[in-house]
Amino acid sequence: MSCHDQRMLQMHRELDGDLSTEEQIELEQHLATCPSCRVTYAELRATVHALVRVEWVKAPVDFTESVLAQLGEMAPVKRNWRVPFIKYSGLAAAAVLVLGMGMWMATPEQFALEADDTRGLVVQDGKVIVPEGSEYNGDIVVQNGDLEVRGKVNGNVTALNGKIYRTASANISGEIDEVDEALEKLWYFGKQVWNDVTAWAH
């Protein structure tokens, strides 16, 4: 390898952070005395500087919706999204909907319940109730409504723009999430995720 190539490699290794202290000092001493290497090194640094400043662009607004729509066409949904029957009182039938992902994004204000199995769940006054003494297997997601757990839930419970209430007899084995969508148009993970992604670009 020629002297020039050796120097080039050394500079690249320096940019990689792979030089020992001695090697670093040696390079700095050489740069102090060699104008052409100094220019080359400065250009490399400027190149890296330009690269890290390249701005991120935003994905199309309907990106996720579009992906999920294509998923829907690709393969049938494995889970049963439709409600076989719900015991309810005091609530108009039209307001009780079980929605898949795509529809939820289009109608964010509506009450919705997503559950593996709705048998045993009670919907009353815009609230979903796990009755006392009952045992529910699976996850429950309630949107724009509250969830009141009086019995046992073997799974995760999530309220989107709603509250989760528990009585003394309640027992929830999984995760309990209350998500306030007014904060950001983000999913379950709050601002931190978004900050992490956007901090990237700067």
């Binding site: 250009e43 190149t47 330009a50 690269l51 994905a59 992902m101 995760e175 993970f189």
Partner: protein
Amino acid sequence: MELIELRIVKRALKGDRLAFGELVELYKEKLYNLAYRMMGNRQEAEDIAQEAFLRAYKNLQSYDSKHKFSTWIYRIATNLCIDRMRKKKPDYSLDAELEGLDGGDMYTRLASGERTPEEELVRTETHGEVHAAIEALPENYRAAVILKYMHDMSLQEIADILEVPVSTVKTRIHRGREALRNLLRPTQLEV
């Protein structure tokens, strides 16, 4: 973050579309920007990013949770980009099979400052020289440079994504930087 992702992946594996939607939300900006820098235009970026998620969904069963989900999905997207780029350049290959050889290959020419057709394009641009310069890079160098400098990946992560040794990643980054230095020198770099 990884634990959260694992939970989502588990739910997605059970057919939970809502959960998979969360994964899309988490990674859409990353994959879209990766594809945009690789392909140079928004339409292909969108096509590829969407296709990456569809493939991930189809192949979720084969995802091994011992490895980072991020690596896995980035690999899918990067491979799609590289495949698409190679289909667009059937006449000459600027590819890595020539790596390690001295003289005569496109890389040496770029390193020496001679101009390729792409460089001519770069020279005529008054705005976005860096963007055009990146697009003039051969796909293997481009991927390594983008993953390192625009996605902050470690050398090991890039090696896992590109499925090459770490030493190869280093070489590609060196040559990518060198090529970019020559492409940008008269226009961009204030020294």
